[in-house]
């Protein structure tokens, strides 16, 4: 019954897709918000980090780890904006994804230092890659990228936490993030190979 009511509410509240926002300058923010989806490597990096953070040995560490990740992304964005830094190359981003994927596949419960270390590496990598080119709306787009990456990490981390809470009853649930991590790492390896070869758009 609750699901049916939620579905009806969602359908009634849906509005038309609009090409332009009424808030001046907000388009850049929304563009940045969608960046982790439009640039899948960024989304996969943020999402796999969120899943990895959810596997921390102490579940209470999850919030601190996601916060550390968001702050690292912010620091990189600010640095890149201030110093007009060059975008991080694809192979660096792919390496970050590979590290997160391998960590997810290898550990059922991750020592906290592993995701913390990855937050301090992957966060700046993602932040440096998320800076938009061009001066117009750079700040808004970059803040949108920060929000998008953080949302991706939080939601996927939330999914990981939900799975972890149910493992006491359904032990096989621990396999889902591990298999996802293996797939993520395998994808990153192929992207790395493409990057080294100099191809693959």
């Amino acid at each position: 019954m609750r699901w049916a009511l939620a579905l009806i509410a969602a359908l009634l509240l849906a509005g038309g897709a609009e090409a332009h926002t009424s808030i001046e300058g907000a388009e850049g923010f929304f563009r940045g918000l969608a960046h982790p989806v439009m640039e899948p490597m960024q989304g996969v990096l943020a999402g796999s980090f969120g899943l990895l953070a959810a596997r921390a040995e102490r579940q209470a560490a999850f919030r601190a780890l996601v916060l550390a990740f968001a702050l690292a992304v912010l620091a990189a964005l600010v640095t890149a904006l201030v110093f007009n830094a060059v975008l991080v190359p694809t192979w660096v981003l792919a390496s970050g994804v590979l590290a997160c994927g391998l960590g997810l596949a290898a550990f059922r419960h991750v020592p906290g230092v592993v995701p913390l270390g990855l937050a301090l590496i992957a966060g700046p990598v993602l932040g440096s890659n998320a800076v938009s080119e061009g001066a117009a709306g750079q700040l808004a787009t970059s803040l949108g990228s920060l929000a998008g990456a953080s949302v991706m990490a939080i939601y996927l981390g939330g999914l990981g936490t939900w799975l972890a809470e149910r493992e006491a009853r359904l032990d096989w649930l621990h396999l889902a993030p591990r298999i996802a991590g293996a797939w993520v790492a395998a994808t990153a390896m192929l992207v790395l190979a493409f990057a080294v070869q100099g191809g693959g758009g």
Binding site: M38, P40, M41, V44, T90, A105, R166, R169, L170, W172, L173, L175, A176, R178, I179, G181, A182, W183, A185, A186, T187, A188, M189, L190, V191, L192, A193, F194, A195, V196, Q197, G199, G200, G201
Partner: protein, 203 residues
């Protein structure tokens, strides 16, 4: 009050929805390897176009189910990683000998292992599967279109391979059902026979 049965039902429903959402792709009027969508679709369908690949991937899943814990979950974790190593070698143009015979042999060996209900030690099963994963990955890597979006293609390709494993595991779970063991061993024989056909170019 939620019971264990409710929890399991929710977990199965969630898993089914997840698999459906991963397996679904948008309807599109134009085909092509370029772009995000085209790259993903191209990568996803790539392992499905070769019956020798499909047979071997499903066989790995079935054999993993036969071997039970922990092989049933180690193989779907390890295989994509090792296959990606082979794929990376193929993308970078590193030559490997006997690729096509190796791919055919994978169906023969793993099919026979299922037919014989061979419960190999985990390290040996991992070695066999890993070796053949290199061949499969290398073959895919050399065939990848240069215009493809790398991330999208690789993601689609890995997901399709993983889903084939999961299908094999799904079949393999029938080993505990009446007649399931015999049916699966028969399927192993068929996979091995297909491997022979692939090896001699009969299919």
């Amino acid at each position: 009050m939620k019971t264990l049965r409710d929890e399991r039902r929710m977990a199965r429903l969630t898993l089914a929805l997840l698999i459906c959402s991963v397996a679904a792709f948008p309807a599109q009027a134009h085909e092509g390897a370029e772009g995000l969508q085209g790259g993903f679709v191209s990568g996803f369908t790539h392992p499905l176009y070769g019956w020798d690949h499909v047979a071997a991937m499903v066989a790995v899943g079935i054999w993993g189910a036969f071997l039970r814990q922990p092989a049933i979950w180690i193989l779907p974790i390890v295989f994509p990683l090792v296959m990606a190593i082979g794929g990376a070698l193929g993308v970078m143009g590193v030559p490997l000998p006997f690729i096509e015979p190796g791919i055919a042999a994978s169906s023969i060996v793993i099919g026979l292992a299922i037919l014989a209900a061979w419960r190999a030690p985990l390290w040996l099963a991992g070695l066999i599967v890993g070796l053949f994963a290199i061949f499969h990955g290398h073959a895919h890597g050399t065939e990848l279109p240069g215009s493809a979006n790398a991330m999208a293609f690789a993601g689609g390709f890995v997901i399709a391979t993983g889903l084939l494993h999961l299908i094999g595991i799904g079949f393999g779970l029938a080993v505990d059902r009446p007649g399931g063991r015999i049916a699966l061993r028969g399927a192993g024989g068929i996979i091995a026979a297909l491997g022979v056909a692939f090896l001699f170019g009969l299919v």
